[in-house]
Amino acid sequence: MNKRIKGISALLSGLFILFLSCSKDSGSGPKPPEPGEFDKTAMLTHYADNIIIPAYQQMQEDLGGLQQAVNAFADAPSEATQDAAKVAYTKAHLQYEKIEVYNFGPAGAAFLDLYTNFSGGLDYSFTQDGELTGFSVDSVTIENNIASGAYDLTEYSRSSFYAQGFPALSYLMISPGAIEKFSVNTANRVQYVKDVAGRLKFLVDKVVNDWGSYRATFIGNTKTDVGSPIGNLVNQFAYQMDMLKGPRIGWPFGKQSNGIVFETKSEGYYAGIGSQLAQANINSLKNAYTGSGNKKSVAGYLISLGKESLNNDVLAQFDVVAAKLDAIPDPLAESFLTEGNKIEDAYKEIQKLLTLLKTDVPSATGVQITFMDNDGD
C-alpha cells in the first residue's frame, strides 16, 4: 500500500468516525452474531477432515468398484454381470447422496452435481410432459451419441447433463432391454458406457484432489458471509430441502402439475431405488447438520448461540422426515402412483423442515440464503 492510499484511507476512516459521531443512525447494518467461545475453526476442521474428505474418498472408492463392474458388464453383457453392476451402482449412488450436500468449493467448480446426478434444477416446471425435467434420462441424445460415436461429455448443456452420470448409467445398464441393445453397434455402445463411468470417476478424483489445497481455504475462513464455507454449508441445507420438496419427491408426485404424476422423472428410476436415495439424502443432511453427532457442527454452533430450542426442533423434524421417507416403499416411482398418502405425509413434513432450515437456521447463524438466482435483470 503506498503512502497516498494510506493517506486516503486514514482520511476516509477519519471522516467515517466523524460521520458516526454526528449521526445516530449511521447506517451500519446488523452485526453478525457473537458466537461466544465457539471455535469455528475447530468446527470446519472437523467437517473437512472427519466428514467431507472421507465421504469423497469413499465415493472415489465406490466409483472405482462401479467402474470395474461397468467395464465387466460392457465387455460381456449378461444377467450375471448386470446384477453385479447393479449392486455396485446402488452402492455408489447411495454414497453420492452423502456428498451431495457438500456441493461447493471443488465440487462446485467441477459442476459435480450437474454431471453426475442432474436434477433438472429448481427453476424448471414439471407442468409439461415430454420435456426433460427432474431426474430424467435423455435417451434420445444418448442413442444419438452412441450412433455417431461423436460426443463431448464436458459440454455444459442440459442435454449433455441428461446424457451422463448416474441416470444415464442406469439407463444403459439396468433399464428394460439394456443387455439386448449391446448387440447393435456394440463397439460404440461399449465405449459410451465406459466413458460415462470413467467421467464419473474422473470428476470425483478431481474433487478429492482439489480438496487437498482447498482444505486450507475452507478451515481458514470462519466468516458467515456470502460464499463463506459456513454460508455455503447452511445454503446447501436449504438447497437440499428444496430438492426434496421439488425434484426428489414433490414434483414427480404432481405438486407442480395438479396431481399429474411424472414417475419416470424420479431419482433412481431404472434402478428402482428412489426411496432409499431420498432416505440416504435426509440422513446425510442430518449427519452434516450434527457433524456426525459432534459439538463441532452447525448444531453445536446454534447451541452456542443460545438457540437450543431451535436446534431441538430441527433435530426432531429431521427424525420425523426420515421416518416418513422410510415408510415409502421402493420402487419410489410405483409408490407415487399407489402410496399417495404416504408421499403426502412425507411431503408435509419435508416442508416443515424446509422452513426451519431455509429461514430459522440461516437467520440464527447470520447466513443469507443466496443459492436461488432471483436476480431480475
Binding site: S23, G29, D113, D123, T370, F371, D375, D377
Partner: protein, 370 residues
C-alpha cells in the same frame, strides 16, 4: 416534513460527512424549505429521461434473444438505428422525434456498441452450448443467456456498462458543471443553467419526482425505477444510498433556488460520492454472489457479467473518488476486458474474486451487510 433553513442546516450537518463542525453563522440567505418531492419551478430533464428510456428500449430488445430457449435473431439495422436514434427505431414517437441519442453521451461508445453488435451476431447463429472458448447459450431460469467465449453475458455488458459509460458518466459531468454554471438568468421552462444541469443529472439518476424510499413505492413503481433508480435499492441498501441521494437531490435543488452555494456544493459532493458508491456496492455484490452459486454456471456468469459492467462504470468515477488509478487497474485486471470468467469460477477458493472484494473494501469501506 418541511424544513426551515435552520432545519436544513441541521440536516446538512447530520448527513454531510464534513459539516458537523460548521459554525452557526452562515451567509445571509433567505429561509427556504426542502420539499418532500422533487417539485420546483422550471424543472425539465426530458433529454435525460429520453436517453434513459432509449437504453431501456435497447435493453428490452436485446433481452428478447434470451427470453426463451428459441433462437431469436436480433435485427442489426434496428439496433444501429436505436443506438443513434434514427429511422424511427423506437416504439414511441416521442423518443423517435426527441432529437437526442444514447450514442452521443456514451463514453467509449465503440466498446459498448461493440457488445451490442457481438450479441446481434451471436443471436443470428444456430444455438450452440457455450463453453470455455466457445460463444453460445446457457440455460438460465426459464430462458437462457448468450455469452462470449470468455463467459461474458453481452446483455449485462451493455446494460450495466452503459449505465456507467452513459448515465453515470453524464450525471457526474453535469454535477461537476453545476458549480461553475450561471444561476441568475432564468430560461423559461428550464430555469437557470445551474438548475438545468442539476435537473438533468437527476434525470440520469432515473427516479420519479414523487420518489420515496419505501419498499412499497419500489414495488408499485417498478417500471419507473430504471437502472440507477432501481439499483440504489437493489444493491445500495446497506450504504443507505436511496435515503441519502434522494435527500441530497431535493436539498441541492432547493439550495440552487435560494442561491445557497455552500449547500449546493455539499449536496453535489454527496450525490457524486454515493452514486459512485452504489456502483462499487453493486460490483462488490456481483463478485460475491457467484461464490455462493456453485454448480449454477449460468447464474454465476450472469452475476459476473453484472460485476464486469459495474466495475467498468468505475472508470467514469468523479475526480474526488477514493478509488485510486492503481486500484481501478487491479480491478479491471481481475474482471475487465479480456478476463476469462471460466477461469475465475474454476478456482474453488475464488482467490481473484476475493481480491476484487478486498480492493473495493479498501477504497470504499464496507459496502454490503455481509
Amino acid at each position: 416534513m418541511k424544513l426551515t433553513f435552520k432545519g436544513t442546516f441541521l440536516f446538512v450537518a447530520l448527513f454531510s460527512l464534513i459539516s458537523c463542525d460548521k459554525d452557526d453563522d452562515g451567509p445571509n440567505i433567505p429561509q427556504y424549505t426542502i420539499p418532500d418531492s422533487y417539485s420546483f419551478d422550471n424543472v425539465n430533464f426530458e433529454d435525460a429521461t429520453a436517453r434513459v428510456k432509449m437504453l431501456d428500449n435497447i435493453n428490452k430488445y436485446l433481452s428478447t434473444a434470451q427470453a426463451n430457449m428459441d433462437k431469436v435473431t436480433l435485427d442489426q439495422t434496428k439496433l444501429d438505428n436505436m443506438w443513434v436514434n434514427s429511422g424511427n427505431a423506437f416504439d414511441t414517437a416521442w423518443l423517435n422525434t426527441t432529437g437526442v441519442s444514447l450514442a452521443e453521451i456514451t463514453a467509449d461508445a465503440a466498446t459498448f456498441k461493440g457488445y451490442i453488435d457481438a450479441l446481434a451476431a451471436l443471436s443470428a447463429q444456430d444455438l450452440t452450448p457455450a463453453a470455455d472458448g466457445t460463444a453460445g447459450y446457457i440455460a438460465r431460469n426459464a430462458g437462457k443467456i448468450l455469452v462470449s467465449g470468455e463467459g461474458l453475458e453481452y446483455v449485462q455488458a451493455v446494460q450495466k456498462g452503459t449505465m456507467g459509460a452513459a448515465l453515470f458518466k453524464e450525471g457526474i459531468a453535469l454535477l461537476d458543471e453545476v458549480l461553475a454554471s450561471d444561476n441568475n438568468t432564468v430560461v423559461p421552462g428550464e430555469g437557470t443553467e445551474m438548475a438545468h444541469n442539476f435537473d438533468l443529472a437527476y434525470g440520469y439518476f432515473s427516479i420519479p419526482t414523487n420518489y420515496d424510499t419505501t419498499t412499497e413505492f419500489a414495488t408499485n413503481n417498478r417500471s419507473k425505477l430504471l437502472f440507477w433508480g432501481n439499483y440504489i435499492r437493489e444493491r445500495g441498501g446497506y450504504i443507505n444510498a436511496a435515503d441519502v441521494i434522494w435527500k441530497a437531490f431535493r436539498t441541492g435543488r432547493a439550495a440552487i433556488e435560494a442561491k445557497d452555494m455552500s449547500t449546493v456544493n455539499s449536496q453535489v459532493g454527496i450525490i457524486k460520492e454515493y452514486w459512485e458508491k452504489v456502483a462499487a456496492a453493486a460490483a462488490w455484490a456481483y463478485v460475491t454472489i457467484p461464490q455462493s452459486q456453485s454448480g449454477n454456471l449460468s447464474s454465476q456468469l450472469h452475476a459476473l457479467s453484472e460485476g464486469f459492467g459495474f466495475i467498468s462504470a468505475l472508470k467514469y468515477r468523479p475526480s474526488t473518488s477514493p478509488l485510486t488509478a492503481s486500484q481501478y487497474n487491479q480491478l479491471i485486471e481481475i474482471l475487465g476486458p479480456g478476463t476469462n470468467f471460466y477461469d475465475l469460477l474454476s478456482d474453488p477458493s475464488f482467490t481473484q474474486l476475493n481480491a476484487a472484494k478486498a480492493i473495493l473494501n479498501t477504497a470504499y469501506g464496507q459496502l454490503q451487510e455481509n
